[in-house]
Amino acid sequence: MHKNDIISQLQRDILPLQGFKQPTGTPVRIGLGAVEDAFPNGCFPTGAIHEFIGTQPEHAAVSVGFMAGLLANLMKTGGVCVWVSTSRALFPPGLKTFGANPEHVIFIDLQKEKDLLWAMEEALKCEGLAAVVGEIQDMGFAASRRLQLAVEQSRVTGFLLRFGHRKPTANACVARWRITSLPSVQEDGLPGVGFPRWNVELLKIRNGKPGSWQVQWSAGCFQVIKEEKETIWLNASSQYGSAI
């Protein structure tokens, strides 16, 4: 057997030990296109904790937007999402823009972060939920490990929104994302604001390949913008601009 085959076979054997089950039947398509190649087994890891980081309120808004797109896919079959937070700014109708049904989101508004972790762990243990979202400032390694162990049992997908000025510490989350906004681009130079467009950075993914993509939300799904096409288009616009 060739050495590379042995290594890839070993990697496949390690994945289930780390809590990544081999996708059975049809894997959950999250509609992320090229981004999905970065994930282990080439499919979005459900039953894992995803962490979104940022420092400003604008970062929180774009991360929530991107996450709402993921939620929409997870909740497609009528699933329920539990949203735990201490200071919630989410405007439920905004979720509808990204296809998630706000009526199926249950908000738990608590005062203390300690309570929040308890509630989140309880929710993550509850099989049958589509996703659990927690807005938390800070969390120790042990707490993140508890959450990760809970989801490995129940296969619920957890999202942590961590927006603050603290430097993100090491934790047991499977993926860490940073979403920042990009200027929207209107086709044919029309006036007004175009489709939401983000720079999606996958900073950390266990057993996957971190990377960075430009993603746009249009026509009810994610679209990954091809770099070459983008540059060509930008060149064209600059030429067009200079012509004026």
Partner: protein, 500 residues
């Protein structure tokens, strides 16, 4: 079963209580007084003072003339009712249906209780001894009807048991006041020479009604057992409740958990048999020192699932302080509902708001943090952003209103719009620049305005012109101008939300 009632009359309820608190008062005459119409009037007098001719409703000055050494104490308003409530609570050990009988009595429905004490005589003696050793002067009497027991306690022997059917004979020589009649009626009867119940009981009913009104007949019928009379118990007896007395006082958490499990098993078995489930449950622990500590739970749906209910209670078990020990556990289910029997599905239920796992989770969260922390929102038919959503009262609620998707709505909305400084080129154009929290944003692209009027039937104020703007960094905001542009007045711009 023939009804039996016990009436207790506290002859000196309030003064006895004062004597218990200050034993030195027991050896001297004293009265309680309160100011009424500018003078001090006696509200209660103890036995020694009453023997010397001091009566309630006398002016204190008159009583002092009669008895120079009389001690006068301030009366406490509302004291008799308070005392009766406590004393009634102590009598619940004799019968579950204990009612207070203001101003100075208790009424107990003792039907079917006395055999536990070995008959009515030992029963009444036990009770009288217990209250007398406390320091109260009481009269007590057992009879077939509420009215007869009341009369016998106040106008008969201090401790009397009227045999079944003997109450009519016993009441004949009593004065009309024994029928619980108003003073005016008693006075009229007395003027007519009707000094005892026996003197008018055989008169034709229509004559009595014409002369003395309906009330005399009603009271007469009640005393003789011809009219129903109901008691309002101090504590409602729950239809679904289980008790677990302990041989030894319980002190440990493990002990409490075992007790809870045993009671839940018993109550859930009964509920399951009857096709019912509980919505609320109270777990009470009666401690040796007389205190009762309790924890309560509520569920979103009627259930008789023992592990789930146990988990709900488990969160709060730590708040039960055993102190000297717990001698009795009681589990009550005040709210019980029919539970629809569902066929158990083999492959797990379909995801959705109606699944059992979700309502169990929400019960646990509500048990720990309170139900007011859980929210779900439905669309509301208002354009004004703050009013465009409403809280859903329960998980099953649906609305005909649809989520508004034609105009862009931000994913994050501020609780209160924050004022910003803007530079706008000409009226009704989106701004070129705005400054928010010290940061300057240069606007590159903008959509709008979307005018949203304040609903005048709800509140008054200026309308809002909303703009969806994007700055040079690609961050998108929801801004609005409050009201119209007017030349001389400074216009108000606000930031209200963030787009993704």
């Amino acid at each position: 079963m023939a009804k039996r009632f016990l009436s207790i009359w506290f002859r000196h309820l309030t003064t006895d209580w004062f004597t218990i608190r200050q034993p030195s008062l027991g050896t001297q005459p004293f009265v309680l007084a309160a100011v009424s119409h500018g003078r001090k009037v006696i509200t209660a007098a103890n036995a020694m003072a009453q023997n010397q001719g001091v009566r309630p409703l006398m002016a204190v000055a008159d009583a002092m003339a009669l008895l120079p050494g009389l001690q006068v104490m301030e009366d406490v308003p509302g004291l008799p009712l308070q005392l009766l409530n406590t004393l009634g609570g102590r009598c619940i050990r004799y019968t579950p249906i204990t009612a207070i009988d203001p101003p100075d009595g208790l009424m107990l429905d003792i039907t079917g209780c006395t055999h536990l004490w070995g008959g009515e005589q030992p029963y009444i003696h036990d009770m009288v001894t217990r209250l007398t050793t406390k320091g109260y002067h009481i009269n007590a009497s057992i009879a077939d009807t509420v009215g007869a027991a009341w009369a016998s306690a106040r106008f008969g022997q201090p401790v009397a048991v009227l045999q079944p059917g003997a109450h009519l004979q016993a009441m004949l020589p009593m004065p009309p006041a024994a029928l619980r009649l108003p003073a005016a009626t008693c006075l009229r009867l007395q003027k007519l020479g009707l000094q005892s119940i026996g003197s008018f009981i055989s008169m034709p009913r229509n004559v009595l009604r014409r002369r003395f009104g309906e009330e005399l007949l009603l009271r007469l019928n009640q005393a003789l057992g011809m009219a129903e009379e109901t008691l309002t118990p101090l504590q409602q007896v729950e239809a679904y409740h289980e008790r677990l007395p302990c041989l030894e006082p319980i002190l440990t958490r493990t002990g409490i958990e075992i007790a809870l499990q045993t009671l839940l098993d018993a109550i859930c078995q009964r509920l399951q048999k009857e096709g019912k489930g509980l919505r609320q449950a109270v777990f009470k622990a009666h401690r040796l020192d007389g205190q009762v500590v309790q924890i309560a739970i509520g569920t979103k749906r009627a259930t008789h699932n023992i592990p789930h209910l146990f988990k709900l209670f488990e969160i709060n078990i730590a708040s039960i302080e055993p102190a000297a020990g717990i001698e009795l556990f009681v589990l009550e289910a005040p709210q019980v509902e029919e539970v629809p029997t569902l066929q158990e599905s083999l492959w797990g239920s379909t995801p959705g708001l109606q699944q059992q796992a979700l309502s169990d989770l929400l019960d646990r969260l509500a048990g720990k943090f309170g139900a007011d922390k859980i929210h779900r929102y439905l669309p509301n038919e208002h354009h004004w952003p703050e009013r465009s959503i409403k809280q859903a009262p329960s998980l099953g609620d649906k609305t005909d209103a649809a989520w508004q998707v034609t105009m862009p709505r931000p994913v994050q909305l501020m609780h209160k719009p924050e004022p910003i400084e803007v530079t706008a080129p000409i009226p009704d154009y989106p701004p070129m620049l705005f400054r928010h929290r010290g940061r300057l944003h240069k606007i590159n692209k903008a959509d709008g305005p979307e005018r949203i009027e304040r609903e005048w039937w709800l509140e008054e104020g200026p309308h809002r012109d909303y703009y969806h703007v994007e700055d040079t960094d690609g961050q998108r905001y929801w801004l609005f101008r409050s009201g119209h542009y007017t030349g001389n007045k400074p216009h108000q711009w606000f930031i209200h939300g963030y787009f993704a």
